[in-house]
């Protein structure tokens, strides 16, 4: 059975485009055909940009004809709706930004435009990236293409579902506590959170600035390496984007695992709340890597149990400040009736933000308040340092750390929506990497007995994305989970 164009990867399509066997216009049309067929059930997108996409595709074909094709030229990509796109509304999944059209592009968008990639649309997400299920979106939930009654994970659930359902070729997401990796695991795709500072955050609508990072969400590891090549690098507009050379990540696509020392953290296995099927799938994947030449070492990350608590103080604290600008004064939603200033603020924000966002603003405001700062925010920052040190110590004994991405396969819609603590634990394995600023990937490593995807997480040391790509590619080349597709007709 030959693959439809929309099912293909970036590198497969690039070969065809280069040979002029297919045009970007044809690919883009194929993607929209697929969107027309499945989007009513999946709801991966908030905004589709069909017209401009077809124009971009035509322009890309023109470039290709002139012989200036680049690896992403003409490839239809989906963008999480918190990355600013000039002239295209960027909602952050929130009512408060429902009509917001930025006059500027995020740096990553400018970089994709230089490559002449095609923008399919803006994908759904938890409101302001606060959630693990894409259910808190003001625009309604996204369904998991593997089981429409289940969540696609979150907060980049729209991007993950769009990739899994072939509603785009690849996508960008953002990851603050697992928001790329956990939905990637839920949807059976590859998702990478780069090192903090590897990719410019300019134009990323901030949730928690010290944790947020943009990364690729793709159908295979090769596409992740390709996207990493073009979104990474220094940016004078982001002081936290590190000025460090960007390697060619595709050189790390090595099919064996010789010499890789894999650390298996004791604290991530056998923990309460982890589904045995998940643990089993991860162990099987570890055996595959071992057979390919990797060595396994048990390591310890002793402060892991405090990570979620620290995260839920630091991230809401930053968010409470980052979201203060949505006050109805300058842009975005404002309560329509005339009131005095104080009421305008209060009613605008009460109406503009959803419940989870308000919950986190309150949490964060509290954690920073006079008299509580030391006990909460400062303490959490100290825990963060300990977690970072745990990893520093661990990486003395290993190159990569392998864990499950999420404790369970994707859960049912509504199952955890009213139980925030349960929801927060969905990110128990992904949060530590954000706190430590480390890069991590999730790749498919199996299916549960119900046929739901399971993800494996590989965490690397700072700026060692290449090693992660190496390990992930080896697993991918020696398994076929990435070829397994949801049966969504």
């Amino acid at each position: 059975m030959t693959k439809a164009l929309s099912q293909m990867t970036i590198h497969e399509l690039h070969e065809l485009l280069k040979k002029r066997a297919v045009s970007s216009r044809e690919i883009t049309q194929a993607v929209y055909q697929r969107i027309d067929a499945v989007e009513p059930r999946v709801h991966a997108y908030i905004t589709l940009t069909r017209e401009t996409a077809l124009k971009q595709a035509a322009a890309a074909d023109e470039k290709t004809k002139q012989g200036t094709i680049q690896p992403l030229t003409g490839i239809p990509l989906a963008i999480k709706d918190l990355l600013c796109t000039a002239g295209i509304r960027t909602t952050c999944g929130s009512k408060i930004l429902e009509q917001f059209i930025p006059p500027y592009n995020a740096t990553v968008i400018s970089r994709l435009k230089e490559q002449r990639a095609v923008l399919v649309g803006k994908t759904n997400m938890d409101e302001f990236a606060m959630g693990s299920s894409t259910e808190t979106s003001y625009f309604g939930p996204t369904a998991n293409p593997w089981d429409l009654e289940r969540v696609p994970g979150g907060s980049s659930g729209g991007s993950a579902a769009a990739v899994a359902a072939d509603e785009c070729i690849a996508a960008l997401g953002t990851d603050t506590g697992g928001s790329i990796r956990q939905p990637a695991a839920c949807c059976g795709i590859v998702g990478m959170k780069p090192t903090y500072g590897r990719v410019s955050r300019f134009g990323l609508i901030a949730f928690a600035s010290s944790l947020d990072q943009i990364g690729p969400m793709t159908k295979d590891v090769t596409d992740t390496a390709l996207l990493m090549n073009y979104i990474s690098g220094h940016d004078p507009r982001d002081s936290t984007a590190v000025n460090r050379e960007v390697p060619d990540y595709t050189r790390a696509l090595i099919p064996d695992a010789k010499g890789l020392r894999l650390g298996v953290p004791r604290e991530y296995f056998g923990a309460s709340g982890i589904d045995p099927e998940v643990e089993k799938a991860v162990w099987e994947a570890l055996r595959i890597l071992e057979r390919q030449g990797a060595t396994l070492t048990e390591i310890t990350l002793p402060h892991t149990e405090y990570a979620v608590a620290a995260y839920y103080l630091i991230a809401p604290a930053e968010a409470s400040s980052n979201l203060a600008r949505y006050d109805g004064v300058k842009y975005g939603y404002r309560h329509p009736k005339e009131t005095d200033l104080r009421d305008m603020y209060e009613i605008t924000r009460a109406e503009g933000f959803g419940a989870e966002v308000k919950r986190r603003i309150m949490l964060g405001t509290y954690a920073l308040s006079a008299g509580y700062y030391d006990a909460y925010y400062r303490k959490a920052s100290q825990v963060r340092t300990l977690i970072r040190q745990d990893f520093e110590e661990a990486f003395k004994a290993c190159d990569l750390i392998v864990t499950p991405t999420a404790p369970t396969p994707p859960f049912r819609q509504g199952e955890k929506l009213n139980n925030p603590l349960q929801m927060y634990l969905s990110d128990i394995f992904t949060i530590p990497a954000n706190l430590a600023g480390l890069p991590g990937i999730s790749i498919p490593c199996g299916l549960s007995s119900r046929g739901l995807p399971i993800g494996l997480q590989i965490i690397g040391n700072l700026f060692e994305e290449e090693k992660i790509i190496h390990g992930a590619y080896c697993l991918e080349q020696n398994s076929d989970w990435h070829l397994t597709k949801p049966s969504l007709a």
Binding site: C92, P102, G203, L204, T240, L368
Partner: protein, 480 residues
């Protein structure tokens, strides 16, 4: 009971950079509303601040001049509060780790008779907020408008220790601080335009008491005079409260310039909780010795040093030196003129007398039509006797009006001094003939008449006669 007044001052000085602290927008004053703005200073979603290096340079300059320690690892923090002129809902400032600590400003009270060091607590950098307008084109509006031009303009806050004890000391502290910042070209010191602002903390305690009294913060004082008036008022208010056994409330009070009183703005309970925390969008600021040394090497001579040097090098009275060094521009004007030859004290007299009358703000002296070299030429002409001191005044006014060189004016108007005895004898004889009565009075011993006769001669020669020669000749001729 006798009370001791304890005052601490917080000065906000706007830095003289071309662009804002975290974006490339212009800092120019007085442009159309919201014209100097961009997504960054408007706090739009997803944008990030990038620190302007020049801001750090100017801050270090001020900190070095104020004898502060430069903190090698400092940090920006967010000060969170809601107000429509604050587009992000927080102000980027420095809190736990400011760029400079310690330091002092030395006051000279009683015309230099006594000196006092006022210690500084810290200097930190921050961004300014915007401005709310409650009227449009002079008409009160039912809505408020926001102008974000000032949003993100760089400020430094200079916080003194509570070591100031009188309103006069506060005034002197502000004058010295402002003059220093102007010398450094760090701040233009303009209080009306708000580029130099001051808030005060003031408390009273019984003389000799070990603990501080409850402090009150005073805002809204937009001139040195108002700072002093407000502190004077507040000292009186607090001491009469204490006298009558009442308690001082910890609060913020606003100075009402029209009524000449302070009024409560908010109590301690209503004070904001700013929820400061390190700004994750900005990396910690690391300053190395090389950078500090480089900036130190660019520090100009400061007012105090310059004044002392003027006294020593030019043998000027303290009073003259203080006026001449009040601004760097005036001091430069003086020195450039003196370098060309005239006597320093003569130059000083001309500047303090005639020039300051024409130049209200001496920082603009480079715009003054009489350049230092023109002034020097004119004074040298007086020195050589080419023109008289009296004529010099005429020449000077002509130079002010036309900006021309003194030689041209003197030549064109025939103002060269007449010292030729023959010519003067003739003129004197005519005056003597015409004033026979006065001559007679003089000869009878009424010496006062002599001055009148000199005046008549000067008048007859249109002021061009050399007065010394006239004096001698007149004496001789009257005696003869």
């Amino acid at each position: 009971m006798r009370y001791e007044t304890i005052i601490g001052l917080e000065v906000h000085a706007q830095l003289l950079t071309d662009s804002k602290i975290f974006c490339g927008c212009s800092t120019r004053f007085g442009e159309g509303p919201n014209s100097n703005t961009c997504p960054v200073c408007l706090g739009m979603p997803g944008v990030l601040p990038v620190l302007n290096r020049k801001v750090v340079e100017l801050t270090i300059k001020a900190a070095l001049a104020a004898n502060c320690q430069i903190v090698r690892y400092s940090q920006f923090s967010r000060k969170n509060y809601f107000y429509p002129d604050l587009p992000k809902g927080y102000q980027i400032s420095q809190y736990e780790l400011p760029i400079a600590r310690g330091g002092y400003i030395e006051l000279e009270m009683d015309h230099g008779q006594s000196k006092k060091k006022i210690d500084l607590n810290r200097i930190h950098m921050e961004e300014d907020a915007g401005k709310l307008l409650h009227e449009l084109d002079g008409v009160p509006a039912d809505h408020s408008y926001v102008d974000f031009n000032r949003t993100g303009v760089p400020l430094i806050e200079i916080v003194s220790e509570p070591h100031i004890n009188t309103p006069e000391e506060a005034g002197e502290y502000l004058r010295i601080l402002r003059s220093m910042l102007q010398y450094l070209e760090v701040c233009d010191g303009n209080m009306e335009q708000g580029s130099f602002r001051c808030d005060a903390n003031i408390s009273l305690r019984p003389k000799g008491a070990p603990v501080l009294g409850t402090k009150v913060e005073i805002k809204n004082m937009n001139s040195f005079r108002n700072v002093m008036r407000a502190l004077e008022y507040e000292t009186g208010r607090q001491s009469s409260l204490l006298e009558s056994g009442e308690k001082i409330l910890q609060e913020t009070r606003l100075w009402d310039v029209n009524q000449g009183i302070t009024e409560s703005m908010r109590s301690k309970e209503e004070a904001h909780d700013y929820r400061y925390f390190p700004d994750p969008d900005l990396v910690p600021l690391v300053i190395d010795d090389a950078w500090i040394d480089e900036i130190r090497s660019t520090l100009p001579e400061l007012p105090r040093e310059k004044k002392e040097r003027f006294v020593k090098e030019y043998a000027l009275p303290e009073y003259d030196a203080a006026i001449l060094t009040a601004t760097r521009q005036l001091a430069d004007y003086f020195e450039e003129c003196v370098r060309l030859g005239p006597q320093p004290k003569v130059v000083s007299n001309w500047i303090m007398g005639d020039i300051l009358r024409h130049v209200p703000d001496t920082r603009d002296i480079s715009q003054f039509p009489v350049t230092p070299s023109h002034l020097a030429e004119m004074l040298l002409m007086v020195d050589k006797g080419t023109i008289s001191g009296k004529i010099a005044k005429i020449v000077f006014e002509e130079m002010v009006a036309s900006g021309r060189m003194p030689q041209f004016i003197v030549a064109e108007k025939g103002l060269v001094q007449v010292s030729d005895e023959g010519a003067l004898e003739k003129a004197i004889q005519e005056v003597l003939n015409a004033n026979a009565d006065q001559v007679e009075q003089y000869r009878q011993g009424k010496e006062k008449v002599f001055g009148f006769l000199v005046g008549q001669v000067m008048k007859a020669t249109k002021g061009k006669a050399n007065p010394q020669v006239v004096n001698e000749l007149l004496k001789k001729m009257l005696a003869g």
